[in-house]
Each structure stands twice: as C-alpha cells, then as structure tokens.
Amino acid sequence: MLSRRTLITSAAKLTLLAPFARIAGAMPNPNARFVLVILRGGLDGLAAVPAYGEGRYRDLRGPLALDPADTSNGVLKLDGLFGLHPALTQMHALYSAGELCVLHALATPYRERSHFDGQKVLEAGGIMPSTSAGGWLNRALTVLSEAGDERQGIALAASVPLVMRGPFSVTSWAPSRLPDADDDTLARVRELYDAVDPMLAGRLSEALQARELAGDAAAGQRMGGRGGQAVTPLVTAAARFLSADDGPRIAVIDVGGWDTHANQGAAQGQLANRLRALDQGLKSFKAELGARWADTSVLIVTEFGRTVAANGTRGTDHGTAGAAFMAGGAVAGGRVIADWPGLGSGDLHEGRDLRATLDMRSVFKSVLSRQFGIDDSMLDEHVFPGSKAARPLEALLKA
C-alpha cells in the first residue's frame, strides 16, 4: 500500500520538478497518442516473428516450425533472418509501408517464469514484482499533468490494469449491454458516494466522464466474443476515444489467451487464430482513428517469451525474451530492431529460452521521451526507478 505520507512526498517532489519535465530541443507533438496493448499469458515470440533464417530454427521448433518465405502459408518475409507469422498480413503491410517496427529478443528485467510476477514487473515498471507503487503509465500521466497536460489515460477494460493504476485519476470503459441507469437515480447514488465514500465517488465520476466521451456510437455495442477477449471492439473503441481532440491521449488494452502450452499450432491453429484477431484489430484501429494515426504509436508487448524448443505436447512453456511490435504513423518503421542473440545451444538463456538483449523499458522510455517529451532523468528516477542503464532507443519514432 502506498501510505498517505509517501504519496504527499512524491507529489511534492513532482511539483518541484515540473518545470523541467519537458525536454529541451525537439518539442513533443501536442497531438501525440499512445496505445499500450498487453498480451497476457506470454506470446511465443518465435511463432509471431520466426527467425527462419537461422540454421537451427527448424530443428528446435519441430512441429511448430513455419515454412520458409515464398512458399504457400510460409512466413511473411521481413529480411533474410526474420519473418512474420503468416496470419499477420496487416502487420506485414504496415511494415512494408514503414509504419511498423518489429522488436525481438527483448524482455522486462524479470528472469523467473511466473505469469503473474512477470506481468507485475512489466506493469509496475521496476525490477521486482511489486504492486505498491502503481503502474508506470500512471506515473507518466502524473508527470504530464504536472507539466500542465491534463488529458487523461483510459483503460479499455472493466477494471484498470496495474500499469495504469495509481494516484492519478484515469478512466475505464468496456462495452456494455446493460441499459443506462436513469439520471435521477444516478444523481442520488453520486450524492450518497460523495457523502460517505470518496473512493467510490471518484470511480463513478470517472466512469460517467468516459461514457460521455464514448458517446452514442459506443452505447449498446455488443461485447464481441467470450469474456470480452475479442480485440476489434476494444481497439475500435480505443480509436474513438483517442481521436477526440479533448479526449484521452494514452490508452491501455488487455488481450488474453497467449499461454500456449499444448497444441499451439503452426501456420494454422489456436495461436494463428489469436494472431489473426490481433492483426485484424490493428487494421480496424487504424481505420477508425483516421488522420490521428499520423500522431499515434501502438506498442504490443507481452510479459515474457516462451521456450525456443517445442515441449512434449506441441506447445511451448514459459520462457524469457520474446518479440514486440510498434505500429503507427509516428513510428519510424520498416525495420527489425534486434541485437540477435542466436539460437545455438550456447546462446540460449539457461539452455532453453531466447536470451534478452534489449530491456523492454528502453522501448517504453522511447515513447514517453520522444512522443510525449518527458525528461530523461524523470524517466530514469521516477517513472522507471533505477532504470538509468536502459537507454531510450534512438530513432524508434519519427523525428
């Protein structure tokens, strides 16, 4: 728990630093938009972005190996070493158009193999799986607001994921099939919460704001798919929120279903279906966002990669480094960013996982510094405490 005292201290410190929260030199884009997509369960990075050019690739992957580029249902070629999974046709088109970067062999600082701790490290933005300080996006939003930018963050989920949780107020929105409550009843509930329960009062007022922003277009929209797992309804809603001039600038979306321990499939199968849904979602997002796409970056990450070799049940177990995607008009795309560690037996982490050569926080920091202009020292010490060694990537985003 964040005690009241530390909360006040950190707020005071922020106010003090606020005038320096902007970087000198290149001005940040006041229209910048950012979407963080978290794939929960551990995306198999070598399935999404196969290193098909590696000699050992086919042997290690066994039943999961994809066919070479230029064969039917083969990988979609990125370069001589890497390709994209054949389900990722939209991403491939974005890559060719210079609007998608593929990142590989990256990981958070977490080196164990628990989903739950892995996600905590990814979202809390530190080194340990701690939830007490909230999420790094919430700290980033606090910094931006201290610098005078009051536009909000939004979680496209019924509850706010850890990455956006914290003292700074954010909104949440999820598709609903329930009829609206009448205004009089709502007003009475608000009055009651205002009187006795500041926490619920705050949550309710955030939710009402989000409803207003979502507007009629979102009202009554059907919840696509089971358990709200469908990607397209969430990303199109995100696009509607982000395209408003006075709406939120930063959104987070959760997509589950990536924990493929058994029968994950190769060119076809359960993982291929998930990837296809993600790929289509990105297309819908771009279409819905319209002109604002030029100012936007979408970062798709997961808590860890999976074992390089297939396991005994044609799936993969929890691993270490994996792949990520960065798409959008603001992205300097058409490149694979990877300090490739190789798949040789001596190259693997603990003899089984892809070794991490890039700290995921470097990617997060690139977005916050280059797109939103948050000062590097603020990022090193406050947003991602103790992350000085993880430098922002140069030229991930367009100048």
Binding site: F116, P129, W173, T185, E191, G227, Q229, N311, G312
Partner: protein, 470 residues
C-alpha cells in the same frame, strides 16, 4: 434487525445476508459459523461415489470424435456431403448446455444454502485451485470438479485436498499434464524409434503446483525444481481418450500411465525421491503440503479473503503456525480465523467481487433466477464470467482489480434493473436493517428513505457503499 456481529458473519463469512438470517444466527455469531463447519464434517458427501465428471468427459470425447470424423469425411470428399449441420454442432451444444446447468447448480446452491460459510470456503478453494471454462471441454464439468475434488475435503486435511485436485482429470487437462511424457520413458523412446518424433515434458502443472497451489511464488523453489516435479508427475493422466492416451484406465477417470513416467530418482527442493511410479508424486505433494512456505501462502490467502486486502501480518503468522502445528488440518485454521479479533472489525474492508455482489443480491431478495443464462449474462458484463478466471491463478482477491469505474457504473445499472423488478414488493428500509443492521451508514439509510419509489430505494440499497463491501 442484525447486530454488527451477525451482519459480519452473514456478509463477510457467508455469501450475503438473507432477511431471515438474523433470527437464525441469534446472539452467537461465531457459534453459528462453527456449527456450519461441524455439519460439513458430518456430511463428507461424494467420497467414494463414482465420479460424474468421468461420464461427462466420456460423452464430450465421443461427441468431439464424432464431429472430427464428419469433418474428415467432408475434407476428404470432392463433392459436398449431405451432413446434418446439427450433427456438427452437437459437441458445442453439449458443452454449452452443460455449462449452463453447472452454473445454475452452483448459483442455486449459493443463493439458497443455510451453510453459506461452508459454501464460501468451497468458492475460496475452487478459486485457489482454479480451472477456467474457456478451455474445452472444461466448461462441461467445472462444478463436478468442485464437488468431486474439493467439497469432500473442505474441512479435512490440505494434503488430501491437494492430492484430489492434482489427480482430477479437470486439473490434469487444464494444465496439460495428461500427455506430458518423461523424456526417457518407454513411451517417449518408442515414439522416437517409430516415427523419429521427439516427445517430452510439459511443465505447466508442475509450475503451478509450486507457484499457486502450495509454496507460493516466493516460496523457495527454482526452475530445476519445476522440471524435476514435472518429471515426477509424468504419467498422471486420464483413461481412454485417443492418440497417445488411447486405452488403459476407465474413460475420463484419473489413470497413472507407467509407460509415460520418467524413470529414475528425482530431486525436488533438495530432497531425493527414488523411483516409485505414482507414489513418487504423492510423496512430493505430501511434503509440499507440510512445507512452511505452503502454510504461509495459504494463511495469507485466507486472511486476505476474510479480513483485508493487506492481511494483518500477525494474523497470517498465527494461522500459518496453527496449520503447521496441526499437520495441515484445515478445521483448526478456520476456527482460529473465526476466533480472531481481526475478523470482526467494522467498517467492512472487502470490496465485493461481481460474483459476491450478484449472489448477495439474490440472497437478499431470496430469489433464484429461473434461467442460469441471466446470471451468466450479468456476471460477464460485470467482468467475472462464471468459472472463467482465464488463468490458473484464479480471480484476484483485492479491490484494485474490481473497483474500476466502468464496472461500478454497470453494478448501478444492474441494481436499477433489479430495483424495478423487485422493488415494488419490498420495503427497502426494512430490508436494509435486516441485511446490514448497524453497518448501514446513516447517509445510506437516509438516501434509501428519501427514495421516490420502492424500486429506487432498492437500487440505492444495492448501490450503497456498505452493500458493495463485505
């Protein structure tokens, strides 16, 4: 009118007060809870009964294979075959029907039970040993799993509970152990010879046993222990499926397959286990149940569930010590929880999950929905599709996960619907007193009193901060 103690017993320990509960509970709220435990000990039902889930699994497998055959015939044919579309849909329909029935059975039990504390314990352990119905064919049998593996051991020894869960086909299927193969097992070597195929371990179940079911994530194990435990439990499988699992054992029941078992001694947490087939895994589970990290992990989760998101450390220590002193017996731990001063503090500290909120609403109204689909619909909307946590960690047990604004607004919207449906027949002021007693704040009572109608009054009661918590 409820006293504070009886309101806490019914709402925090139970699944939500019913208007008549205060009379039942009387003046001895802790005694009311302990009597429920005694009754549960006396029942011990389902033990030794042939498992219903085996029948369900067998049916599901048959329907799945029939569908597969039809699809293969269709794929192999050059001309479209005349296949009745209903036959292709039969498997999915079977699963969907079973899921509705299971949710209906579970929620009816929760809404109507006179032992709501025992039922909450069932929900607690079912969530601790979570399976998720978004993996097929588990949607056909989640409650059968609870009734067979968990309910009989609720008031027994954690060792037996653990053993029953890890051997249950639902858990084996959920965490992919049924086909996990010792790399040097007879079956793996045969596959290598015959087809040149490399088959082997799946470490999913082993990892979650250590991380989620027993020691906890910081309980002092490493990757080596995970791999070794995965080897220990190779062969823990189910009977009579197809492919690698063809034959051997009754269809749909736990079956140990020696040919899949990794031979040789294994070392888990520094202790060496000599090769002894099925018993090897039983020995490891027994040792894990008695491990101090397990005691601490379970004590933390119980205290978090019944007392506060950040459980008082002294209470956790006390519960863990009692667990160890009593060799993993659960009853003394529950009794200590009931006797703990920390358990009876007001104001209510736990924010209700959507399940808590929906079940407690129906208990308050003493009404069971006619169609389980209603319940599935609303709980999905509120962010907790029944029995579908989507992860072996189960549903989170802290407010931070459930108190999102959008979810709160949806609770209010649903409370509006319920108010309109039921508010005319009841007096919401009297109901507030009967459910919450002195826990209801003056502001909530005033708001309910000033409501323009019975419907609005009931909505305000359900939306009140005290009803949103337990």
């Amino acid at each position: 009118m409820q006293s504070q103690e009886s309101a806490i017993a019914a709402n925090r320990f139970g699944l939500g007060a019913r208007p008549s509960d205060a009379r039942q509970i009387g003046t001895d709220a802790p005694g009311w809870l302990k009597a429920q435990l005694d009754a549960a000990v006396a029942i011990k039902h389902n033990v030794g009964r042939p498992p219903g889930s085996a029948v369900t699994l067998k049916q599901a497998t048959e329907l799945r294979l029939a569908r597969q055959q039809l699809q293969r015939r269709q794929a192999a044919s050059d001309v479209p075959l005349e296949i009745d579309p209903d036959m292709l849909r039969e498997y999915a329909q079977f699963i969907a029907r079973r899921y509705r029935d299971e949710v209906g059975r579970r929620s009816t039990q929760a809404i109507t039970t006179d032992q709501p504390f025992v039922e909450r314990l069932l929900h607690f352990w079912a969530n601790h040993f979570a399976i998720s119905v978004d993996k097929q064919p588990l949607a056909a049998l989640p409650v059968q799993y609870e009734d067979e593996a968990i309910r009989p051991h609720l008031t027994g020894n954690f060792r037996d509970l653990l053993m029953a869960v890890e051997k249950h086909p639902a858990m084996l299927l959920y965490l992919d152990n049924q086909a996990s193969l010792g790399p040097n097992s007879t079956a793996a070597r045969a596959a290598r010879r015959r087809r040149g195929r490399e088959l082997g371990l799946n470490e999913n179940l082993a990892r979650e046993i250590l991380e989620l079911h027993t020691l906890g994530v910081h309980g002092g194990y490493d990757q080596h222990d995970v791999t070794e435990l995965a080897k220990v439990i190779t062969g823990w499988s189910i009977g009579g499926d197809q492919g690698r699992l063809r034959g051997g054992g009754a269809p749909g029941e736990f079956h140990f397959r020696p040919l899949m078992h990794e031979p040789g001694a294994k070392t888990v947490l520094g202790r060496r286990y000599t090769e002894s087939g099925l018993e090897e895994g039983e020995q490891v589970l027994s040792d894990l149940a008695a491990h101090p990290s397990t005691a601490r992990h379970l004590a933390t989760k119980l205290a978090r569930h019944f007392v506060a998101d950040e459980p008082p450390p002294r209470l956790v220590e006390r519960l863990a010590a009692i667990y160890l002193d009593n060799d993993a017996e659960l009853l003394p731990v529950y009794e200590a929880l009931i006797d703990a001063e920390e358990s009876w503090q007001a104001p209510l500290a736990k924010y209700k999950t959507p399940q808590d909120f929906v079940i407690s609403t129906y208990r308050a109204l003493e009404h069971t929905p006619d169609n389980p689909q209603q319940l599935i619909g609303i709980m999905t909307q509120l962010g907790q599709r029944p029995l579908a946590p989507g992860s072996p960690a189960g549903w989170p047990d802290t407010a931070a996960h459930w108190d999102g604004g959008d979810a709160l607004l949806k609770r209010i919207e649903w409370a509006t619907i319920i108010g309109q449906a039921a508010g005319k027949q009841i007096d919401p002021r009297a109901l507030a007193g009967a459910l919450l007693g002195p826990i209801a704040s003056a502001a909530s009572l005033a708001s309910i009193r000033r409501a323009e109608s019975g419907a609005q009054g009931l909505t305000l009661l359900l939306a009140a901060p005290e009803f949103q918590r337990r």
